[in-house]
Each structure stands twice: as structure tokens, then as C-alpha cells.
């Protein structure tokens, strides 16, 4: 027993991430990680609300809040939030996904209390007023133009998601619909905050140069008085029906080089098969020696690039493959080569040596990922929310180790089914359509 345990831990090159965890009376989850080597601390709040929690006629709300919550609170004036964080030598940002919204500050460690006060302010009483709403609406419209409309291939995710999901709210993209945002009233925004931005739907993470006791005391001081939200949260319980036939479309875009997109529905993020699917995507396109890169980019030179990645989501994401043909190459030709190679994997699986290579790559990736305080904060928060335990960050490699060679072949057959996929061809728009 002891022997095998020792062997196991030497196998795992990963350094353990120590942490403390506690739940406040109002339901707020607190995770703290201490590392005094640099005098900074990352303060992050993960709200378990993303675009999937929105109503179909009010999409884009979660992302809208990502903007709105920088506008100010009852005690912090408009425009002051960002200025304050910068004026104490900190930085801040936030992002929204289909499942969660994540806000963070990284501040010099002597300003930990300030950062906690500020995060508690926007949980307790953010200012949701007409000026802020009107401004951020315009900003988000420009964000959408910059990310999607004015950018070649910018609509890929929107076009893919709306076909990959017939029922599930993943069918709309995070930035949502500008019409919905235009139509929404102030009261609706306020209600959305009351529904989701509450302690019992949040995880607060501190990582960096902290003293556990002092940090916990400040957290209690600023967060304990925030009232709990509803006991139940609206989380869609939609099972996306299995597709029986391929969905295939052409999208015309302002591009010169076509693109081929294939999307296959995935199991929920915390499903045991996720690890094998991640390894499969690495086998296909991770690194110069990966199957598709070697064959299509180097040998046949049909592709400028091929990329496969599992977009893992709480209720089941999509496995996206993207191939860009080199000039003069017919997209159909490239697509049939992609399909041929995947079929080969399904039929023959992968070799022992390739499997060993995949394990080495995964080990490297996981060991490398906790290189910053903000990164550690984020990984701890995600681990807590998606896997129910922050300690998942220390176990992830073990889960990858459990994947067998046969699992990779099996998941290729089980999930990369051509009869249930979405295929899009992005083609240059004829010029006079503009």
C-alpha cells in the first residue's frame, strides 16, 4: 500500500495547491490559498450564472452585468470602481461564459481589505440606473461589432451554437441579442441581479499573500451581512435531444479563405468521458506531430491549419473542429480528408506510443497551469462550482491517468458521430451582396 502510494506521488510531478474552504451563513462559499512569495493577492468572485440562465427573449443579460457591475454601487460612484482599483496599483477584469460569470481584482496585498469591500459592495447593492444601462448598451453593441460583425469568421460560434442546440439555452451566444438588450427594462435588470448575484450563488476566492485568519475576518465583516438570495436558482434542466441527422449549411462571410467547421455534442463537463475527449482532441490537432496537423498541414498541405477543441460546458458542450484550406484547395476535398482520418481513429484507435505521448502532454499541461495567483484562484473556483470540490485541482491529473487507450477509441466512436453533427462551410461572400 505504502509503496504504491509513494510511486503514485512521484509519478505526479504536480505541486499540491493548499487551500482553506468555508461556507458563510448566508451561503457564500469562501476558498483561500496562501502564497507569500509575491506581495499581491487575487480576489475573485464567481457567480454561478451565465447565458444559459437567461430567458430566451432576454439573452445577453449575464454578459450585460459583466459590464454593469463596473458602473458603481451605492457607496462607490460611477466610474470610480475601475479608477479605485487602478489607483491602488491593482488591475481588474471579468468574463462571462454560458455557465458562469467571473470577476476579479489583483491588488497589492496590503489592499486586500479594500478589494473585499469593493466586491461586497457590488454583491450587496450595485447601482443599476438608466445612465449606466444606456451607456453599456452602446458599448456592448460596439463589442459585438468588434468581435463578431467586423471580424472575418467572427460569427462562427453564433452560427454553430444555434444549430448544435435545438432546445438548450446554449443555442444563443453569451453576448446575446442586441434587440433583447434594447427591449429590457431597468426593473428586469434589477430582478436578474436579485435572482443570481447573491451569496448563496457565489464563490469567493482569495489567492496570494494573505494571512488566513485576517483574511477570513475581513470576509466576514464585509460579506456576512449580505442577505441570502432565493433557495432555488433557475437552472435549465433541458436535455438536448440527440440529433439523428447531420445539419449542414453554408455561411457567407467577408473572407477570402473558406473555413470548415464541424461540431459534435459533448457530455456534461464533469462526465468521466471528458478526459478522454480532451486527449482525443490533442491526438487530432495538439502539436506538430498530431494526426491531422501532420497529415493535412505538412504532408498533403491541404490545410493552413486544423484545430480541434472540446468546448466543455456544464450541461454538455460541443467538440469543435475547424479547418482552413490552403488557397486553391476545395473545402469539400479538405473536409473529406478530415473525415477519413477521424474514421481511421474510430476504426483502429491509437498506438501505444501515441498514447504515452498524450499522457506526457497532459501531464505537462496540468503541471503548467497553476503558474499565477489569478490562475490558481480561477482554477479553485471552477473546481468548486463544476466538480463540487476545490481539491479537484490537485486530482485532475489522476483523472487523466485513468483514461485508457481503449477509452480514446471508444469516445471517438461514441461522440464524433457524423449523423448527429453540425457542419458549416464558411465561404467568401460574393462581392455585390454587400
Amino acid at each position: 500500500m505504502i509503496g504504491s502510494f509513494l510511486m503514485m506521488s512521484s509519478l505526479l510531478a504536480q505541486n499540491k495547491i493548499e487551500f482553506q474552504e468555508r461556507t458563510l451563513d448566508n451561503g457564500l462559499n469562501l476558498i483561500m490559498h496562501r502564497d507569500n512569495s509575491t506581495p499581491i493577492v487575487a480576489v475573485a468572485v464567481l457567480y454561478h450564472v451565465g447565458s444559459k440562465n437567461e430567458k430566451p427573449d432576454r439573452t445577453g443579460f449575464a454578459h450585460f452585468f459583466e459590464h454593469l457591475l463596473f458602473e458603481g454601487t451605492e457607496n462607490i460612484g460611477r466610474g470610480e470602481y475601475m479608477e479605485k482599483v487602478e489607483s491602488i496599483g491593482g488591475t481588474l477584469n471579468a468574463f462571462t461564459s454560458n455557465d458562469i460569470t467571473y470577476y476579479y481584482e489583483i491588488v497589492p496585498s496590503n489592499y486586500l481589505e479594500t478589494a473585499l469591500y469593493m466586491e461586497s459592495e457590488r454583491m450587496l447593492h450595485p447601482k443599476i440606473d438608466q445612465v449606466g444601462v444606456d451607456t453599456q448598451r452602446e458599448v456592448i453593441k460596439e463589442e459585438k461589432r468588434q468581435r463578431e460583425d467586423n471580424r472575418p469568421y467572427g460569427s462562427i460560434l453564433r452560427e454553430t451554437m444555434k444549430r448544435a442546440y435545438q432546445e438548450h439555452p446554449y443555442q444563443w451566444v453569451v453576448i446575446g441579442s442586441m434587440d433583447h438588450l434594447d427591449a429590457a427594462t431597468l426593473e428586469e435588470f434589477a430582478q436578474f441581479h436579485a435572482d443570481f448575484y447573491v451569496p448563496n450563488n457565489a464563490t469567493l476566492v482569495l489567492a496570494g499573500d494573505i494571512d488566513y485568519e485576517q483574511a477570513e475576518e475581513w470576509v466576514s465583516k464585509y460579506f456576512e451581512e449580505i442577505p441570502s438570495g432565493p433557495e432555488e436558482f433557475f437552472r435549465p434542466s433541458v436535455d438536448e435531444p440527440k440529433k439523428e441527422s447531420e445539419i449542414r449549411d453554408i455561411v457567407y462571410d467577408d473572407i477570402q479563405i473558406p473555413a470548415i467547421i464541424q461540431a459534435y455534442n459533448l457530455p456534461p463537463k464533469n462526465h468521466p468521458d471528458s478526459y478522454a475527449l480532451d486527449m482525443l482532441s490533442t491526438y487530432l490537432t495538439g502539436g506538430n506531430s498530431s494526426l491531422l496537423t501532420k497529415e493535412l498541414v505538412d504532408n498533403q498541405q491541404k490545410a493552413l491549419g486544423v484545430y480541434a477543441f472540446p468546448l466543455e460546458l456544464e450541461d454538455g458542450g460541443i467538440f469543435i473542429m475547424q479547418a482552413l484550406p490552403n488557397m486553391g484547395v476545395d473545402p469539400d476535398d479538405l473536409e473529406s480528408e478530415v473525415d477519413r482520418l477521424i474514421k481511421e481513429v474510430k476504426a483502429s484507435g491509437i498506438s501505444e506510443r501515441e498514447f504515452e505521448k498524450l499522457q506526457n502532454i497532459m501531464e505537462n499541461n496540468i503541471v503548467s497551469q497553476n503558474s499565477s495567483m489569478e490562475g490558481i484562484a480561477q482554477n479553485l473556483a471552477m473546481a468548486r462550482v463544476f466538480y463540487g470540490d476545490p481539491n479537484y485541482v490537485n486530482k485532475e491529473l489522476e483523472y487523466y491517468r485513468k483514461v485508457s487507450k481503449e477509452d480514446i477509441k471508444r469516445v471517438a466512436n461514441e461522440y464524433l458521430r457524423t449523423d448527429g453533427r453540425v457542419v458549416l462551410h464558411y465561404l467568401p461572400k460574393p462581392q455585390d451582396n454587400d
Binding site: 510531478a13 505541486n15 512569495s37 509575491t38 506581495p39 463596473f70 457607496n75 479605485k84 487602478e86 489607483s87 491602488i88 496599483g89 491593482g90 488591475t91 481588474l92 489583483i106 497589492p108 496590503n110 481589505e113 479594500t114 469591500y117 451607456t135 453599456q136 452602446e138 458599448v139 460596439e142 461589432r145 468588434q146 460583425d149 467586423n150 471580424r151 472575418p152 465583516k221 464585509y222 456576512e224 473572407i255 477570402q256 479563405i257 502539436g287 506538430n288 506531430s289 498530431s290 501532420k294 498541414v297 505538412d298 498541405q301 493552413l304 490552403n326 488557397m327 486553391g328 469539400d332 506510443r353 504515452e356 505537462n364 499541461n365 503558474s371 467568401p428 460574393p430 462581392q431 455585390d432
Partner: protein, 683 residues
């Protein structure tokens, strides 16, 4: 009972609130005493061959990274622009010990990263694979074989990427601003084109490698879970034999800001947003006495989210997702740029606000509060950067490269904090040039051109950053009809030209080694035409015009064009379209003179009754047609003519269209004049 329970809960809540009311939320908590920022040290040593090595030990993660950088002057590549972009991947294209496949596999097998560029090689891996990683890195560095087929692959990819970049507003803007700021003959302003990419040979890459990959201009940073004692023998083992050699120096004239505002527009009709970059070149180096104060200046103007530009254009006006500025620093020359992607209808308003912010800061300076925020922001960012051990390595390398004083980084925060408002204002006055700006926009010309004229004369540029030249027509008394008639005379006269009733042409072209053939049948009296495109012997597309309609077959799909489109296609269905303009009821307009490939040309716009147009350019000197542009066919450039049956016909043409991402040169292989066609020929 339930009622009471709720009441109790309510009571409890009030009590709770009361008890917690002592939390003072009306003001920010006071900070704890400022922590001391501790900076690690880099251990350094120099090999006999001149390679300078820096080791920064950090055991947080069981990883090691090796980063080799060459310190050379920037180089110009001229008619081989893009060459240096191939060097790194060519080095990774195989060595005397390993084929590319073996190399790629060896790297991936241990989960390592290894990449090279024209002035760097970087490798990293888990600690346990460090020796193998070093061996692979050294193999790439010392034994590359530069295979020909790898160059062809890279060229193909670069041409594809270039084509992509021509549609990307940011790439277009980047090319334009570099060309304006530095000039196209400067290393930072050069742009690669299809032509320059096609000029690059394996020998160019070898020559570059032989010239510049020398230990005496190289720095090696080793960062991670490794001690200097462990690193030293490894470095000696893998890099000790590297032969030093003399490396050439290069000097360039320093670009200067424009004398007055220059307004530059790239018309991108599909744009729904305007990419605005206001810029000019600046000379600023890390070792310049004003380096830090210009960081502060930029921070206040457009550094972060609390900066003036961000607050004004985004938070106040909602014109953009983000507005910022950058003040570069470089050994040679850098640029100052104010940038935002803005709402189309607010393009001019946004530019006005940007100009206002530049001028206002130059003239009125900054406030004490802004200075404090900027110091905190820059200092904070400096502090956070120390989280990564690689920062210490780059500090050590910079100190060497620029000959910085020993305390440059250790006293960085002290010097920052000593900066006064007066110093910032002085720098604002000295470095901000509110009268000497390149105001550049990539956007929809139809919507924004007129508004841009408010800022000065608008010069249009191509998506490659070249000026679109327009010449003055002057007093020349000539009509569009005259230009057409002169052309018909120049090719051999109306009579000979009209005698060509049918023709069968075969044209050939080559794209990246792929043979392309085009077969065109013209039947003027019966008003039919067919064009087939063959790729490696297979039909890629076929267009047939007959019986008053046009059908296009491509990618396995067949489409009959709508009437309006048919009218457009019809404009070029003739052997010599100019003979038919009058009969077809087309209107002609002479729009002045343009320069086409260095020749002056009349620009004639031919419009059909449904609004379709073809623009033709006829040489002023020879009267010959030099170029045509149409929405349907893109750009056709006529490179050479030959005479057949008394009529000059183009035998070499270059085609460029939105459907083909780079120009195709095609040659007339054979021509049959007045053959007899059957119905089947047009199926």
C-alpha cells in the same frame, strides 16, 4: 404558526442588520502598511564564445524554460519581404539528425514546447525532460537542413494568410500605419506581398542563418526549477562549441512625424465599424531619461480603464468597446498611437474626441490626482510582473542590451514615485504632436469619406497600405467615346475587330504548382459564351451564357443568375467588348486620369441600364486597355498583347478577385479564330 415564524425571521433580520450596522461602507478601508517588493536576482555568466547566460531559479513548478535571443539590428528585406518570417519554421523543418516528422514527434512525446524565429529559439518542458529538451533545442539551433519542400509549404501558408489579412480590418490598419509611420523602405514599414513571398529562396534563409545565428550576439535565459550550478555544465555541453563570428550592423534614417495632419482611409465596404488609429513615429528607448515619464503620460491619456480616452469614448459616449493609447519604446524607433474601433456613425465624433484628448493633454497637462493614479497603476503592474520568474530574466537581459545602470530596476519604483506634475506636463508638451498626426481609418468609405474631409484632405490607400493614386485630367479635351474609339483603332481598327466573330481560347495559369486551365468560347453573332475552369484536369467551374441567361456551375452546384446579375455578366461576354458598348445602350463616363502600374491611364466607367458597371483604364500613351475592374470579375490587368488576323488581343493577363485570394497570371496558350461551334459546345 407560520405567520409567527415569518415575523420572527423578520425580527431576526432587523436585529442582524442592526448588529452589523457598524460596518462602515461609506468610505474605503485603510490599507495595511505597504509590503516590501523583493526582487530576485539572475545569476549570469558568459561562455568563451561570447554567449551570455542568465539563470533565474524558481522551484514553484517543476518546469524549466530556455530562451535564446539574438540581439541584431533590424533588417530590410526589400523584394524578399517576409523572408525572416520563414527562418524559424525552416529551422524546425528538419536537422541533419532528425527529419521534421521525427523532430515534431520527439518534442510532442515529452510534452515539451520548442519554437524558433529569426531572432530567437525557445524551449520548455517539465524538469524531468530538461536534458532531452536541450538536446532538441541545440539540434534545431545548430543542425538545420532547410528543406526546399518546407519552404514551399510555408510559402503556400504565407500566401493564404496574406489573403486572409486583406480582409481583416486590424491587419489592414496595421499595414497602413506602419507604412505611414516608418515608410515602406524601413524595416518596420516593409510589407510582404505575393510577389516578395514568391521571390524567397532557400539560399536567402541559409544566408540569413549563417550571418546572424552567432553566440556573440546571443543571450540565453534559463528560468525555472534549476540551479546555476546545474545549468552551467549543461550550457557548456550544448552551446560551448558554437562558433562566434562577425555580424553586420545596419543603420536607418529616423522617420519623423508628418508636417501637418495626413488623413488616410482604406475603404472596406463590408465594414460595420471604423478602425481608427491616430499615430506618428516617436524615438524612445528604455535607456532614455524620459522613458518613465512617457509611460506615465501614456497611462493618463489612454493606458487603462480609468484613462481619459477610455472614460471619454467608452464610459461617457459609448462610441466603442475600448479606446486606448500606446507610447512605444524601441532601440530604433517606435510609434505613439491612439486607437479604438468605433461606431460607424460616430467615426468623426470619435476622432474629434481623440484629437481633443491629445491636444488637451499637450496644452493643459495633467492633474496631481491623475499622476498619483498613473504611478500606482504602473507601479502595481511592475509589482505583479515579478510574480513570473521570467520577468527577472528579461530585466537582466535588458540591462545588458541597453547598458542600463545597476539600479535601473531596483530603483524603478523610487524613480517612478519621484516624477512630478511639471515633468509630465513638460513631456506632454514635448512628445504629443497635436498638429502632426496620421489620422487613419479602415471602414466603409461610402459612409464615412465625407465626414473625414473635416480633418484634412483624405488620401485613399489600398488594403496593402499603398496610396490609391488619382491624377488630374487637366485641360485635355477628350471624351469617353474618344478614348474607346482610340482603343479600337489601336488594336487594329473597327473593321478588323468586327471580323472576329467566334473564338476559342485556352489560357493556362499556375497556382502553387497546381495547373489551371481556362477554356473560353466566344460566339458573337449568336450572343453566347462559355468559360470553363479546369484544375488539374478537373472542372472547377463553368459559366455559360446563352439564350438570354447565364448559368454558373461551381462546387457541384448550378445556379442561374438573376436578371440583374445576368446584365452585369453580359458586359464582358464579347471578344472585344468595346465594339458593343454603343449597341447595348451602355453609358460611358470619363472619370479622369489614374496611374496604373506606373502608366497614366484614362479611367472610363461603363454602366449598363440596370446599374452594373465596368471600369476600364486605357493608356494615355498607347491607347491600349491596361486594366478592367468589375464587381463580377474583379480586377483584370492586361500585361501583353499580340496581333492575330490584324487585331491585337491580350495574351497575358493577371486576374484578381474576391473569390481568388491572390493574383493569378494567365497566358494564352492557343487561340482559334472564327471556328464553327455546335449547340453541344455550349452545354
Amino acid at each position: 404558526m407560520k405567520y409567527i415564524f415569518i415575523n420572527l425571521a423578520f425580527l431576526f433580520l432587523i436585529v442582524g442588520n442592526h448588529a452589523l450596522a457598524q460596518v462602515d461602507r461609506s468610505s474605503y478601508p485603510s490599507p495595511a502598511p505597504a509590503p516590501e517588493i523583493q526582487m530576485g536576482d539572475a545569476h549570469s555568466f558568459t561562455l568563451e564564445n561570447g554567449l551570455k547566460v542568465f539563470v533565474v531559479e524558481n522551484q514553484k513548478l517543476p518546469r524549466v524554460a530556455f530562451s535564446l535571443i539574438l540581439e541584431r539590428d533590424p533588417i530590410t528585406e526589400g523584394d524578399k519581404a517576409g523572408m525572416s518570417g520563414f527562418v524559424g519554421e525552416m529551422m524546425m523543418g528538419g536537422t541533419t539528425n532528425r527529419s521534421k516528422d521525427e523532430l515534431d514527434d520527439s518534442i510532442d512525446f515529452i510534452g515539451a514546447s520548442l519554437r524558433a524565429s529569426s531572432n530567437s529559439v525557445y524551449a520548455s518542458s517539465l524538469k524531468k525532460h530538461q536534458e532531452k529538451t536541450l538536446e532538441l533545442m541545440a539540434d534545431v539551433l545548430f543542425n538545420p537542413i532547410f528543406p526546399e519542400q518546407e519552404l514551399e509549404k510555408l510559402r503556400k501558408q504565407a500566401l493564404t494568410a496574406l489573403a486572409q489579412s486583406k480582409d481583416s480590418p486590424n491587419s489592414i490598419s496595421g499595414r497602413l500605419t506602419s507604412a505611414l509611420n516608418y515608410g515602406k523602405d524601413h524595416p518596420y514599414g516593409e510589407t510582404e506581398s505575393e510577389q516578395t513571398l514568391n521571390n524567397i529562396q532557400v539560399s536567402d534563409i541559409k544566408e540569413y542563418y549563417d550571418t546572424y545565428f552567432k553566440p556573440n550576439i546571443a543571450y540565453l535565459a534559463i528560468v525555472g526549477d534549476i540551479t546555476p550550478e546545474e545549468a552551467a555544465p549543461l550550457v557548456e555541453k550544448y552551446f560551448g562549441e558554437w562558433e562566434p563570428g562577425e555580424v553586420p550592423n545596419h543603420e536607418y534614417e529616423t522617420p519623423t512625424p508628418p508636417a501637418t495632419h495626413q488623413v488616410a482611409l482604406v475603404d472596406r465596404p463590408s465594414s460595420v465599424q471604423s478602425v481608427v488609429r491616430i499615430t506618428y513615429p516617436v524615438v524612445m528607448r528604455l535607456d532614455h531619461p524620459d522613458y518613465l515619464v512617457t509611460r506615465v503620460l501614456n497611462g493618463i491619456l489612454g493606458g487603462g480603464t480609468s484613462s481619459r480616452l477610455f472614460q471619454n469614448l467608452r464610459e461617457d459616449k459609448g462610441y466603442t468597446y475600448g479606446a486606448n493609447s500606446s507610447f512605444g519604446a524601441d532601440k530604433l524607433v517606435a510609434s505613439f498611437t491612439v486607437y479604438a474601433d468605433v461606431k460607424q456613425t460616430a467615426t468623426d465624433s470619435a476622432i474629434n474626441e481623440m484629437l481633443y484628448e491629445i491636444r488637451n493633454m499637450a496644452e493643459n497637462g495633467v492633474t496631481e490626482k491623475e499622476l498619483e493614479i498613473a504611478k500606482a497603476t504602473i507601479g502595481g503592474s511592475f509589482g505583479r510582473s515579478l510574480e513570473q520568474p521570467s520577468t527577472i530574466a528579461s530585466f537582466a537581459i535588458n540591462a545588458e542590451r541597453y547598458g542600463l545602470p545597476d539600479d535601473f530596476y531596483s530603483a524603478y519604483l523610487q524613480r517612478l514615485n519621484a516624477i512630478t506634475v511639471e515633468e509630465v506636463n513638460e513631456a506632454a508638451n514635448k512628445y504629443l504632436k497635436p498638429e502632426n498626426l496620421y489620422i487613419t481609418v479602415v471602414g466603409n468609405g461610402n459612409e464615412i469619406y465625407d465626414k473625414l474631409t473635416a480633418f484634412g484632405e483624405v488620401q485613399k490607400y489600398t488594403n496593402m497600405g499603398d496610396p490609391e493614386r488619382e491624377l488630374e485630367l487637366g485641360d485635355i479635351d477628350i471624351s469617353a467615346a474618344d478614348v474607346i474609339e482610340n482603343y479600337i483603332q489601336a488594336i487594329g481598327g473597327r473593321e478588323s475587330a468586327s471580323a472576329l466573330e467566334t473564338a476559342k481560347m485556352r489560357l493556362s495559369a499556375e497556382i502553387q504548382g497546381t495547373k489551371l486551365n481556362m477554356i473560353v468560347l466566344y460566339d458573337v453573332p449568336k450572343q453566347r459564351m462559355m468559360q470553363r475552369m479546369l484544375m488539374m484536369g478537373n472542372e472547377a467551374s463553368k459559366t455559360i451564357i446563352k439564350d438570354g441567361k447565364a448559368t454558373v456551375n461551381a462546387m457541384g452546384q448550378s445556379q442561374t443568375l438573376p436578371d440583374e446579375k445576368f446584365e452585369d455578366v453580359k458586359m464582358s461576354m464579347w471578344i472585344i467588348p468595346e465594339l458593343h458598348y454603343e449597341n447595348m445602350g451602355y453609358s460611358l463616363e470619363l472619370e479622369g486620369l489614374r496611374e496604373i502600374d506606373g502608366k497614366e491611364a484614362y479611367k472610363v466607367v461603363v454602366s449598363n441600364p440596370t446599374g452594373g458597371t465596368i471600369t476600364n483604364y486605357y493608356s494615355v500613351e498607347s491607347a491600349m486597355k491596361l486594366k478592367s475592374e468589375s464587381q463580377v470579375e474583379g480586377e483584370t490587368t492586361y500585361l501583353a498583347y499580340e496581333e492575330f488576323e490584324g487585331v491585337k488581343l491580350p495574351v497575358e493577363i493577371s486576374l484578381q478577385s474576391p473569390m481568388i485570394p491572390f493574383p493569378i497570371n494567365s497566358k494564352l496558350e492557343d487561340l482559334e479564330i472564327n471556328p464553327t461551334f455546335t449547340e453541344e459546345d455550349f452545354n
